[in-house]
Symmetry: C4
Subunit: 296 residues, 4 copies
Amino acid sequence: MFTSNRPLNGPPWRGRLYEILFARYTGRPGPEGTDRTARAFDIVLITAILVSVAVVMLDSVESLAAQYGRLFHGLEWFFTIGFTIEYAARLVAVQSKRRYALSFFGIVDLLSIVPTYLSVLLPGTRFLAIVRVVRVLRVFRVLKLLSYVGAFRTLGWALSVSRHYVTVFLMTVLTLVVILGSLMYLIEGPDSGFTSIPVSVYWAVVTLTTVGYGDISPQTAPGQLLAAGVMLVGYSLIAMSIGIAVLSLVAQRDKQGGRQTEIWARVCSNCDSENHDPDAHFCKRCGSMVVDIGHE
Amino acid sequence: MFTSNRPLNGPPWRGRLYEILFARYTGRPGPEGTDRTARAFDIVLITAILVSVAVVMLDSVESLAAQYGRLFHGLEWFFTIGFTIEYAARLVAVQSKRRYALSFFGIVDLLSIVPTYLSVLLPGTRFLAIVRVVRVLRVFRVLKLLSYVGAFRTLGWALSVSRHYVTVFLMTVLTLVVILGSLMYLIEGPDSGFTSIPVSVYWAVVTLTTVGYGDISPQTAPGQLLAAGVMLVGYSLIAMSIGIAVLSLVAQRDKQGGRQTEIWARVCSNCDSENHDPDAHFCKRCGSMVVDIGHE
Amino acid sequence: MFTSNRPLNGPPWRGRLYEILFARYTGRPGPEGTDRTARAFDIVLITAILVSVAVVMLDSVESLAAQYGRLFHGLEWFFTIGFTIEYAARLVAVQSKRRYALSFFGIVDLLSIVPTYLSVLLPGTRFLAIVRVVRVLRVFRVLKLLSYVGAFRTLGWALSVSRHYVTVFLMTVLTLVVILGSLMYLIEGPDSGFTSIPVSVYWAVVTLTTVGYGDISPQTAPGQLLAAGVMLVGYSLIAMSIGIAVLSLVAQRDKQGGRQTEIWARVCSNCDSENHDPDAHFCKRCGSMVVDIGHE
Amino acid sequence: MFTSNRPLNGPPWRGRLYEILFARYTGRPGPEGTDRTARAFDIVLITAILVSVAVVMLDSVESLAAQYGRLFHGLEWFFTIGFTIEYAARLVAVQSKRRYALSFFGIVDLLSIVPTYLSVLLPGTRFLAIVRVVRVLRVFRVLKLLSYVGAFRTLGWALSVSRHYVTVFLMTVLTLVVILGSLMYLIEGPDSGFTSIPVSVYWAVVTLTTVGYGDISPQTAPGQLLAAGVMLVGYSLIAMSIGIAVLSLVAQRDKQGGRQTEIWARVCSNCDSENHDPDAHFCKRCGSMVVDIGHE
């Protein structure tokens, strides 16, 4: 999945910069896999991301914006400049600038800084201010570097194994809510808040997923009877769908001979190749150190 | 389950028409199982279904109906005539007209077009307009033809395996809500909205399924205590029922030696017979191509 | 669990009466296990139970009681007299009158008829009228006799296997709601509806179980933050508890070598003894026919 | 995990006191593991805890406080003095006073009595009164001594096995609610109650966890469409996360060869060492009796 974007040539500080910024996936870490500088950078980065997202969020609270607007403004520029320097450093450090810039995290990195600059040109646009919350996605970059790779891969694996079930399940739910919502529109009518089919379908989603806001709820006896039926169907559907989710995961795992749990355990620290033998210390493809990224 | 309704005699275009309209389940697809015409038809059909359902839904929104009523009316007739031609073509293409007309999808196909024609004779009936949303069920016909057959069969299998548990579970829930609802009616009385036993039972369903509208909620201390108990019972019931759902599915799968996962993988493209050997390329019953309908 | 209460002596019609009233658990059914009279009685009984419960429920709706009060009154006495005759017949049919009268279903049978008679002596007591809904429990007696025994036993088995987990789980939930409710009382105070600790604990139950009425909800920022935390804890708790439920059931099933699925399959129709060999046709204890009560 | 804090020297009554107060984890119980005095003490203690917590809770209800304030006050001091004597006794009984005082339950024991004494010095502080509900945690101490150790250890084991998944899952949920909440703030705006990003994020948590208070709910069509999407995502996320929870627990259990179920069954009554052979009657480390703490 991940192939290295490590600089193949250039001065040594460039390789070192890459190691710090993109950590684990490149650098041959020091003894016992601890690269102190990269780790320190990760901690600073994750703190900066969380604080800057908090600033964006709190800035939208009117009373706080009135009182601390100046502070929020200052912090916003402080973080934006910091993230800009980081973005530039990442561009310098990678081998292929284009590949980084067009990668998912490359785009997220860009979206994290552009709105602040644009807000100077186009003042007053609430939309721009909010785009900055995509910064929160950058937390995953750091998580990915830590010991959560295994868990992420399981999630991806589980999603991939059960994608057909999820599709069929969502299709069934969507069909159910269209038909049940329309039926409810017929039974209850606009007086109870079921003003149109789309609104009634919205009610059906709210009910079937057991969210149950209560902003729209049936008032007549037949409506309440149908609603009770919808709830019991939703209830059974949850049990059934979870049963099938578990079954498909267990079945797939058996089919692969439990392989999916083992694969994660050993990944090359340089080229991310997998399938290394349990006792391998070096990558059979590139000779880098093999790192244990399991869950224990 | 599905036996072919393919025309046994008649001109060749009739067989071809059947192949396009009922795809996969009949036609010997071209190389690599792609019948471009059938696929194109499926895409046109699914789009027409979704757009026509959207039109029915949006037409029920008063503000949109006032503004775009004329457009909706036009589109409605356009789709109705299209679906009518399709229905006629299906009738022509199949061997047994009666069997198609009385099949589930045959009835759905008819219900998709009749209301529009009836609306000319009986204007102003909201009921007729809404019957048309059954069109959404036709999406499943197309899905069935694509690669979701396996997932559908698992769902059917799981429902069939656990139908006794689902019955007992629903019986338990229904008994609980009748008794708890009556108890609540006794404790809270009409002042808190528990105006009758049926309404209180409705409240119990809303609470036990964790939907929780809040349109009726206990106001007295004993009522809130009982309600808290109901919620905890509902909570435990969900965990227990899912546990049993998983157990029964896993147990049944073990009993069948994991067979249910393999069967789906190979189905005859003509007669839908199953149980073909993993290396079979042609159906042992009718000699048609065996298609892989698995989930990978 | 169930040992026979079949009359050991007396005229033959008494044994026959027992067979009809208590079906399956006694009578040697006719060929292929169908006793037409017993089956017909079961259907009449289950209909009478459901209709009489419906009458009790509908009688509590003021508008219906005003209109159909006379009809409801008549039906109520009709069913009460019918159930009284049935109760007397059961007393006559069993070997030990005391054992039946003190059994769970014996008490339910009595509670189904006594309130109507008492209502003549003590008119106007709403409480008595509602006790009659316990009749709904009698449906389970009939279900038990049909093919749901297997599913009921699994439920009982699952509850027994996981009772320690359920206890610990409920203890954890109760401790959480007491502490979180108190904290919320401190943070939000009476102005947001958190008028006392018990009310706040009630709110915590409503939130943790994801019911979410919305009758009490946090209004201040710290309160909403804590509430969001409570919801995420509740969410994780559900996933965790279901995971453990499944694990404990699977573990216990493995320990018993899958025995719990097999046991249900073969039960003596007379003495309810279990553990018969798969090919046994007659009970090894009493020589009665062995009946297959499995789930397929 | 637990190593003994049993007094190594001193008069015999001190060892006996320790046995009664800390039961099971120390004392060599009498024949068949029943130490009548310790058991009686446990029952008195658990009753005192529950009654004292109930008093704290009921005292917060204004109407009850006005009527029974004097009784509550008396009971409060009665329990506080009782718990103080118990705390002193525990301090006397243990080998290392410091270790007990700084242990989790040592701090809980102290927090259970201090607020009442402080309330004399600092009258009228609602905060102090509420701290006393931490007493409810002391129930777990007694539970731990009874037959629930096995269930507690499974819970701990399950939490430890799936902690990476729980972290990733909560991270995903948190990221989702930040982004979806911000989007909703943009779409709905302050008129529908989405007054700021933090409030909108709070709404997203309420919706994604299917709590659904309904205090804030979308009013516009695009908002309701997005909300319906959020609900379906939340719904799928629950199914997926439970599937993964089960899978990880089953996988880990297989890896350990079902060991985690066996370990619990045999624990030394003195030193809490584990891994005793199934037929061992005495601890291989300290020679004390091995106690069966399983779940049957």
